[in-house]
Assembly symmetry: C2
């Protein structure tokens, strides 16, 4: 019943865990050294900046970022504290609210993308040919997550969401 994994599968598991951890660490360190906030902030700002009129509901943000509800709530708190976003009331549904990115938020997102993209290139791009990167995408996609089309990402010139 409980079939054991092949050594190949096990090796893949180990590498998936280790490599991700190392690469993420490396990228986050680069970002931190450049004086930027955590990547989660970037993701949130990017989502917001892409939303029509730069605002969206916390629930939506939560779904996009695939993080727990309370986590979204607190992330928004921080963005608001830093003046990167503002909360707006939602007239349709008074339980809810809208979160709108500010000009400062948009600027930070753009600045971060500079460092972020450089880090991706340094820690991923430079180590893999485009063809190999595609192969890697294909294999990873088989492990169950749909991250959208590679082509779709190409459309987004100003950044990509992580996590």
């Amino acid at each position: 019943m409980k079939r054991k994994p092949s050594t190949e599968a096990t090796a893949a598991w180990i590498r998936l865990m280790r490599v991700q951890s190392r690469v993420l660490d490396a990228v986050e360190q680069d970002m931190k050294k450049a004086g930027f906030p955590p990547l989660a902030w970037y993701d949130a700002l990017l989502e917001l900046s892409r939303a029509p009129s730069g605002e969206m509901r916390p629930v939506e943000l939560e779904k996009q970022m695939l993080i727990p509800q309370y986590s979204t709530s607190r992330l928004i708190d921080r963005l608001v504290d830093e003046g990167l976003a503002v909360r707006r009331e939602c007239k349709m549904d008074k339980r809810g609210q809208f979160v709108e990115i500010t000009e400062a938020g948009r600027e930070l997102q753009k600045k971060m993308w500079g460092a972020y993209s450089a880090a991706i290139e340094k820690h991923v791009g430079s180590k893999l040919s485009d063809a190999d990167a595609l192969k890697l995408c294909g294999l990873l996609d088989r492990l169950g997550c749909s991250c959208g089309d590679v082509k779709a990402a190409a459309a987004a010139k100003e950044g990509v969401p992580a996590r």
Copy 2:
């Protein structure tokens, strides 16, 4: 100077982050549902159980597991609290100590491997042929971490370290 990553590299980055996160989550959920402690405990117990006479220095454990020093210290605290390991004084170097796995620790490690290996099979093995798993290993290895040989892992019948 700051060359931008190709869209392929960027797509690979996103997938690496997302897929790892989903797969790890899935495996950890399975383990939690089976009533087991976090995977980090497993890794530590495995390292200890493999060490000659079941004991090693915290520093060594730290290097094996690639986690910060304070993190190792606290992990050992918890293992000791649960009776899975004991601290022994180190006569050679009185700053240091030895951590020795207990019988209970060895048993837990083995039990966990049952659930753990099943989870790996379920979330990785079943989704990838062995050949593809190997390809994935090769590509991930290029991203800079040396996780040892795939063949080497095969030698270890009783479990694998994650992270």
